[in-house]
Symmetry: D4
Subunit: 242 residues, 8 copies
């Protein structure tokens, strides 16, 4: 039987395309990436942190998608002037999912906000806006169409990311927050040319965590390499299932 | 452990609120109705009919939500002049889910398009537009805000619906298709004042199927009776789990 | 001290001009009409019918403004195909206000929907859409700018309306519902040229009720006669206060 | 009989949801907060300052809501570059209401602009834009959805606010003006982490005034503590009525 | 010195392109047509009918442009169901201009609504909507871009129009009202293929009036024949000036 | 060397996505279909009919795309009430292209409006709107997403279309005009279930013309059969080049 | 006979409210101001400078209205970074009107852009954006509704402006350009509190020129003083006519 | 036979005016400029660089139009903060077209982005945004309507540009990128007053390349000089054809 992957969903209030009703949703790129890796995706609605255990017990791996800013109150800061919209309920549920996934030793794949959230869940901190980063020199919110890589990243070759992409690659980019201090259990494995962390992985061989700052799910139809992040994720999941 | 309910999701192309990206989604009312009935909802993305078995094997019950028109090609008609948008891929996946649910004897709760789809899955037919119904006299797409009941239904007292709502109730209404011929395995249990079927249930005591034409998920915050349809569904699920 | 006039307010959900928030409101024309008649207006939010008595005890007269369709369930009909949006909670509160005003013998001035509501409160019925009226020949939703009179009305000279406007006048018009059967306690005093009732008054000399189908509050700045409806209302209020 | 609360209303010109007509309105959150505190709210249209006495004599307490910037001409400054829209007529009417309320010893509850207005009415001054505040470090116009608290406030425990919320709380925030010099009759009782005044109260035990910079009316459905500000207000009103 | 042509202007309320302010305006095609005929155009704002004499005394000819429907009250009818927006103040001012122009024997050129208005000014009547015309068979509101002729007209050769265009021509068309009974002083000189009057002229040789139902000012840049209507008008004006 | 295919382009005035500037364009589906058939597409701007010979001499085949209605003046009718927008300049240029292509014996592939235009170029006629067709029973403007087939067509097996699609197929549909009388040189090879012509081909073996009423270029990414229409077209072109 | 006032008009391309057509127009406030001063306004379309003499010879005075920025090429500068839209054709025509008016000794009233244009016509210069003004401290583009005065001006008492408004007044403000060097023939008579020129007049007693930087035409309905600028203008015109 | 000019086209995704479909297009000004120079334009869809040779072999000259930013990765930079949208596929195809045109010695005319692209194709570099240019003093994205020249350029008289325009001219301007280092094979022939390169030409007499930074195609209908750039281009093409 195919592995079951839980995608932590988001919520939209007053969605114009659904008569102004709220919806639970996830971008289709994540659904397609998981399905093309021969796994079965289901979307988790935002729920109480206490329900994270129930959710995790049903699935074999968890995918953390993009979305709102992570609340700075979670890493001990007041909101600064350029903070974007946050969703504390989503933060709380996803932190519980992350901790439960690690507790149950189930693999995690985290994208953009997902990367930031996993970092904060284990004590890392964020730049609330990239303009707070003193060495900022690269455009991290691209105007170029989303399927097109826009800036270069340097990659640690001895890493999951490095095995897929080699020493250097061009990725797309849509984030105004970024990692300031990386949490202790993780090691950075990719950086933009101005020095921001673009990917990290778990240090411990017992944990199977890959987190990227860009949006591979938007590039899949145009760059086959990006599908490999999903295929690798499902391989990691299957390995743990055995 | 709480029962796991699969909600058959929908897809939106070019969603304005998510940068024009496609999303898999379900209206929040279904998520809330299931959660308030103390079950755990996950959303199924539209997938291949061959995957229906895998999906059903993971969950304890399935909820079919509202949305597009059912394709008339499925019941032997060409599209007539007032047909709305259809999604044949969703039709095919949901028909497979319905058949698999019945095969695995897992309870179904179907709402609006869900009711129409279940009917077609078992050989029933639809009015492609209510204006094709010769006795049409009631407004079936209300302009009144969605949480407010708009027209009266008469109810068969000896039915699941009747046990919840009694002989008569006022419900909201947002459908331009309607049941023409009800499929053999089902019996109608509620009707609008101009004679259209507003709810049906499985005849067989071995099947646990309730289908309603209105939108209880939109009325829950304003009419506690509507939550009872979800609570009843979860009770039926738990009964089958034992 | 100036008389206090309660204007029964309306509610807007998702108001675009106030960040999508709901608001309680009333069109400014009613506020201006009352103030220019030297009375003090306050707006009543839609409340429970049981609170109508409290509200009426605070004011000296009540003004019923325009807005949604009156629900046909209130006069024994199901919604027909062209019914507009209704607000049953507003209907219920305003019917309670009307009954309480009559009980406390406080004057009423009713405009457009207000006229229809007062009629229904006392057992009258409505055409759910003017196209249901067999003799329809006049445009009752004008495209001409609102301050401009558009069609002619014939007036019963021996009436409050007749004393203000004479035998005939040209009024603006924005209604798609209209009176079918006038409730027993009222008499019609004005008609459009195709025979629909354009104004009614209380038959009983103990009641002080004037109801008009057009929108005088929109014409005040351009037609001084329309202010006289407000001035007359306040005179009726003062007379009852003594 | 329940106490009657006057909410000082606002005006919208060209409201898109009401055919471009002007309306008198107040956000529904204030209406709901007062009703849930078991009092009766009515909305005051903006009127002449000379009418403030009449209005106040009819009610038992007055609520000053959010809205436009307070005109800097009222505290001796010319408009600076980032001033928002003002409404001098509203300023004048509300200042008269405040002074009359204090004269009649009727309680005041002031929210956001209301807080600023009360301060200016008694000689206080404002930052025309928070960017004029030299120590600005916190985002005071949140992008996070309005029902969610965004930044922390420190609270004087020995105050009405302190009795409700304790020493610290997280509140929502939507203001670009802020108090510069607090007027003599008031004392600050809460501050944001960058030192702006978030709430004040009357020094004199004979006056019953509570003013907050955030928007409790938007958080009520999600944070029961916020309703307590309204309940406390109605209690203060009842105490004065006796 | 060049002749001075008065163009009777129109008014727009809430013009989106001018900050929602009202403006007096005329379509540029009329300005260009007059200038290219070597005359000087000025635009008359809508004014009191009593001022028509003053306006006419300043100019050598008058041009009546397109715009709103003519009010049916002017020819003894109530507004029927498909009437468009009217502007009674514009009607009254332009009727006064027409009568004064004829009184002062100054030439008139009338386009679309202008043709209808001149007809009504002298006792003619209109179809309030072309659907009231029993023989309607041609599309009179074209969807094709405005500079392109859309339907054929038959022309009386012995007429001003006939001298310019010959027996038949293809013209553009944007009118939903049309002439029913032509006023006595005029004779029809062009018809659409379904028999509606497309142009008329004064019978009397002492009057210089040409009125067309289509919009020559929109076709000038693409069809040089249309400029000839303006050139002919200015020639008629100069002839009267001598 | 690859064959060169001329696609007869369209023009958009005031294109919102290009700063309101006019553009020459063609839908990308035609470009992709030709490129995937291993030919080189260029777009012809609408030009003078006299230039058709020059254009044809440069290319090996011509593709006529969808777009505006064909002007009824070209087949001896006045515009009827439901005619859509036309572009007589495009009509004239494309008729010249068709005649020149036939003269030079270069293959034609015509889609939707292209089919209608080729028919009119050789003396055929059209229903100006499908509602003029007495047997209309099928929805010919689908609301379902464009890549999805919506209605069934019956196909003459002994034809180019039949060789590709067999006896029956489901196609998408976006046309409100349709063939009334087919021009003499052509034979119909496919029909919708209500009897409208859905495809035709040249009778003469010396001409290589295929015309379809549906939009294969929109279905290519989802239905590989549709690409075969383009591949067949390029094969026909290559055959003529030899 | 009443004096005739020429208002120099503006042009709008692609006006959304007139089917995307260009129009010649002027804001209604100028029309009303002139009519209420008992003069007759006509609007001049933008024309060739050579026609200015013809236009001026027909009227008794000229009013220069608001609108686009004046082109910096006219005063020897290249466009700087914050320049707004300009209309060189309008500049040229209006400069010719100003010079001709002075030549014919006909009075001028100039508003906002009008003031800037008159200054440039006689050799003055402008700040292309007020941010270029080193002492900028006041908001010169108000967000407050246009009929409301926003900032204070100091006035030279011995001037036309001073005779109307006294030493100080509060005016509205909508300009991002401002006078840098005032042309020799003029003297400043009013200033904002940060020192920008808000009004000037002709030094020579033979010229009758008044120019203001604010928009009196928008305040007339709310501040009777503003009408006096128009009344004074017409008085000046009549004085010259004698 | 007239020369054939290939215009390198652009692509629009989700074009609102064509039902959200992607299109290949080029601004109409380029089409008109080429046709008025008596040549035949065809539009090249963006294709693989390997197809450039095929495309060039079919035409006599190539025109490079305006559009997206050129990707900085092509000249060795990461995207900086103000980079606009890029289209790397278009960059690659057009660079191949440029090189092939030079290889086949066919003339090039390049406009705006076209100028930047040709420079980068031969090793030149760009300012990613004009704000990176230290001497920036002129507005290079004009707000004035596009057909109107906005700033001055100084011109090398001994150049193609100089022969057309003389020593100085006023041109329109819509670019936020600009040439930093000009590639070796080219020489600058025009500059804005703040020193940015506004035009360049090939140094080699064997190459026929003219590139301008402004948009002559938008000014043609209003400034006949701009058509001369197109006429000169076609002359250069014909010269090479012989």
């Amino acid at each position: 039987m195919k592995p079951l992957i839980g995608i932590a969903g988001n919520v939209l209030l007053n969605n114009a395309d659904v008569n102004g009703l709220p919806i639970t949703y996830t971008p289709q790129g994540f659904v397609n990436g998981v399905r093309q890796a021969d796994a079965i995706p289901v979307v988790f609605p935002i729920s109480d942190p206490t329900e994270a255990k129930d959710y995790l017990s049903k699935v074999d791996g968890v995918l953390l998608a993009g979305g709102q800013d992570v609340s700075p109150l979670l890493f001990g800061e007041e909101p600064s002037l350029k903070l974007g919209a946050t969703n504390p309920a989503r933060d709380a549920f996803e932190i519980a999912l992350v901790k439960e996934a690690i507790h149950q030793a189930k693999p995690i794949f985290a994208v953009c906000r997902g990367l930031q959230l996993v970092n904060v869940a284990y004590g890392g901190t964020l730049y609330q806006d990239v303009s707070d980063y003193p060495n900022l020199a690269v455009q991290h919110v691209q105007l170029t169409h989303f399927e097109t890589g826009a800036h270069t990243i340097d990659i640690e070759p001895d890493s999951t990311i490095g095995k897929i992409f080699g020493n250097q690659y061009v990725v797309n980019t849509y984030h105004h927050q970024a990692i300031k201090e990386l949490a202790e259990p993780f090691r950075a494995v990719a950086w933009s040319k101005d020095g921001l962390i673009e990917a990290f992985e778990a240090k411990s061989p017992h944990q199977s965590i890959v987190a990227v700052q860009w949006h591979p799910e938007l590039m899949i139809p145009y760059d086959l390499m990006m599908q490999r992040l999903f295929t690798d994720f499902v391989k990691r999941v299957i390995k743990k299932m055995i």
